[in-house]
């Protein structure tokens, strides 16, 4: 099961908002679609769901044209909403039936998902009587009620407290474990790091970075080191490195407890070790630096923002 988005362009009126978005994701893996507000994540997802039509480009599923109506897709839109005046179970069964389930199956599945998300007690309540967090859980249950093979979640964690976020995290992990194809967009990088094998960062309608998260982290950490000293503050250490190690490395960032150094072209880590050994710096922390997704995101989406 492989979904490929290839060179999607989309304009609203005269304004082009997607300039050739491409990425791919396979079953049993999750893709994190990242981007700042207005970057084009939701538009991309809506094109996937056929809510909008792309001006050009193609979407393929296992090599053939992707037609959403021919697949079982669980879609949690950014604009949340169900019927506030109808009971929870009633509308879940309705959505399951619309997505092809028979009434008996629909009831069973709806009850199963409500139980899984710990909102069974509200199945006969009108949606509007539930708290925002519980409404969000019902919405997620409604997204998954028909056992979708593809799951697309647009900002699924917004509005959830830490306990409910944990329930959702477990559910998403189960979905991935069951071999479903999961795409989700989020601003919360920690969740993306937790689930996603692949990421695509969209900035101003373009994919500025995509690929396997582990490789991306490795690549972005390749020439970077972390360094902290017992006898110097970070400012003093930074000044010293800038002054004395100019030909070897540059300070590329500063964290709370250490500096991030970037090796100059052609220089090796061993050269830094030698330099350290010959200096008066009492090493507190030293090692390879692996950037967080947040660092990478700020680097890619922030630099052009």
């Amino acid at each position: 099961m492989k979904l490929e988005v290839k060179n999607i362009h989309k304009s609203f009126g005269e304004k082009e908002v997607l300039h050739g978005v491409s990425f791919q994701v396979e079953g049993g893996r999750a893709l994190g679609l990242l981007g700042r507000n207005g970057a084009g994540k939701t538009t991309t997802i809506r094109i996937l769901m056929d809510v909008f039509h792309a001006n050009s480009g193609e979407i393929l599923f296992d090599g053939a044209r992707f037609v959403p109506s021919k697949h079982r897709i669980g879609y949690l839109p950014e604009e949340r909403g169900l019927y506030p005046k109808r009971t929870v179970l009633d509308q879940m069964m309705y959505l399951a039936a619309l997505r092809g389930m028979k009434p008996g199956e629909a009831r069973e599945s709806a009850k199963k998902w409500l139980a899984r998300l710990q909102v069974s007690e509200y199945e006969k309540s009108r949606l509007e009587t539930l708290s925002k967090g519980n409404q969000q859980k019902v919405q997620l249950a409604a997204t998954l009620v028909h056992n979708p093979e593809i799951v697309i979640l647009d900002e699924p964690f917004s509005g959830l407290d830490p306990v409910n976020s944990q329930i959702l995290k477990d559910v998403v992990n189960e979905l991935i474990g069951e071999g479903r194809l999961v795409i989700f967009s989020s601003h919360q990088m920690s969740y993306v790091e937790e689930f996603c094998d692949n990421i695509a960062i969209i900035n101003k309608g373009e994919v500025v970075l995509d690929g396997e998260l582990r490789e991306i982290k490795k690549e972005y950490g390749r020439n970077r080191l972390m360094l902290a000293a017992e006898n110097l503050t970070l400012e003093e250490l930074s000044e010293k490195v800038e002054r004395e190690w100019q030909e070897l490395a540059a300070v590329s960032g500063k964290k709370k407890e250490f500096l991030i150094l970037e090796l100059r072209q052609g220089k090796e880590r061993s050269a830094v070790l030698e330099k350290l050994a010959g200096s008066d710096i009492i090493v507190d922390k030293f090692g390879s630096y692996e950037p967080t997704l947040n660092d990478i995101f700020v680097m890619k989406a922030g630099e052009q923002g």
């Binding site: 879609y75 909403g81 506030p84 039936a97 997505r99």
Partner: protein, 418 residues
């Protein structure tokens, strides 16, 4: 088709589980029945002309003194003949008074309903406390005065008034042979049915539009359009609204018609012109009235999709409302000219055939091919507005904010189709 059925069932459940909707239906049906059963329990003989005696009905007895009005007269010219007054005013007890002041005081104290002072053979004064809009006493008394005059004149001239009257008002017998329609008797229920369709369209059309706007305002629409086709959604919603409207009207009208049939005798048949509708007219109404209702229901549905707040629905649907009202008033005006060119043309247009064609069927001359062609145009137009409405609904899905003008929506639709 299966998805349409699912949407239809779900939407119908929404209407039928709505306590206000069902409560109003039952209340209005019961109210109609209670009103029509009233003559069985309350003396309404003044209104219906039928009196209930011991559970049996009988025509109102005009001779009972307590049922009769009391009129006074003062004859200053010496021309009044009591037997003529008795014949012309069978439900009135006449009493002569000695002077005009006494007559006026009695009328003012409402001891008598009316008073007449005959000043000369050709002049009189009429006293009444409150003159009603339907007061015919003065014109009837005028007839009586003319009769007094003719009688006195014939007496003075030695002529026989009865002979002259027989010659002057020779009775002519006539036998009606209506070969096609009786517009006179069909007019009132046609009028009532045109009003009924108008009410159905405006009331339930608005309800359908609001139901669709609600889905945009509560943000359920994106989940729905990604779960099934917009055709299934719009057709399901509109047909559910239409079925509910027909159900509600059907229950209310059915209760009223049934109650009237049971109590027709007690009403003296006085509501026949509204409620005794021939089967073929009801059939024409079922096809054209309901067809027109569906046609407009789809348009109202599409208008609902063009706004995102329920308070904007009236604004969005105002153009449609104006069109419905123009057709409504024009149809009512044209009922008196049922075979005119204007109504013939309108009876083929889907915007107006719902009222004009069925009025022509009920009251005018219409060929079978005309009915078939008009119905065909209406059915195709319903499907056309259905699919157009579904496209507008789909296009309006994620367009929040200011209401979208129908011209802009159609332009955008053309652009996205090309």
């Amino acid at each position: 088709m299966r998805k349409f059925g699912i949407v239809l069932k779900y939407e119908l459940k929404e209407y039928f589980s709505n306590k206000t909707f069902m409560g109003l239906t039952i209340f209005l049906a019961l109210l109609g029945m209670v009103l029509l059963f009233l003559p069985r329990f309350v003396d309404m003989s003044d209104f219906t002309g039928v009196k209930i005696v011991g559970g049996e009905t009988e025509e109102k007895d005009g001779d009972t003194e307590e049922n009769q009005d009391r009129f006074l007269y003062l004859d200053q010219a010496g021309v009044v003949r009591d037997e003529v007054l008795g014949q012309m005013f069978p439900d009135v007890v006449w009493q002569a008074v000695p002077d005009e002041e006494a007559l006026k005081a009695a009328v003012e104290a409402q001891e008598a309903e009316a008073g007449f002072v005959v000043l000369s053979p050709t002049e009189y004064r009429y006293y009444v406390y409150n003159k009603s809009m339907t007061d015919r006493n003065a014109s009837m008394f005028e007839q009586a005065m003319k009769t007094f005059y003719r009688m006195d004149y014939c007496d003075a001239s030695g002529w026989n008034l009865e002979e002259i009257s027989a010659m002057y008002d020779v009775p002519i017998t006539m036998d009606w042979e209506i070969l096609n329609k009786d517009s006179g008797s069909n007019y009132w229920y046609c009028y009532a049915l045109v009003i009924l369709v108008f009410m159905l369209i405006t009331y339930y059309g608005q309800m359908i539009a609001v139901a669709i706007t609600n889905e945009k305002s509560n943000r359920a629409i994106e989940v729905l359009v990604t779960s099934t086709s917009s055709n299934s959604l719009l057709f399901g919603k509109v047909v559910a609204g239409a079925v509910s409207g027909v159900f509600q009207m059907g229950v209310i009208l059915g209760a009223i018609l049934a109650a009237y049939q049971v109590n027709r005798e007690q009403w003296g048949g006085m509501l026949d012109r509204f409620l005794d509708i021939p089967a073929e007219v009801l059939l024409a109404f079922a096809f054209f009235g309901l067809g027109g209702y569906l046609f407009y229901a789809f348009l109202y549905g599409a208008m609902g999709a063009l706004v995102s707040k329920t308070e904007d629905v009236s604004k969005s649907a105002s153009g449609l409302m104006v069109m419905v009202m123009i057709v409504y008033f024009f149809s009512l005006l044209q009922l008196t000219n049922i075979d005119g060119t204007a109504i013939k043309v309108l009876s083929f247009l889907p915007i107006s055939s719902y009222s004009t064609m069925f009025a022509r069927i009920a009251m005018g001359t219409v060929a079978a091919w005309e009915i078939v062609v008009s119905l065909l145009i209406l059915v195709l137009s319903i499907l056309g507005t259905g699919f157009l409405g579904a496209k507008l609904y789909r296009m309006g899905t994620l367009r929040y904010g200011n209401p979208i003008k129908i011209s802009t929506a159609l332009k955008d639709l053309r652009k996205s189709d090309s």
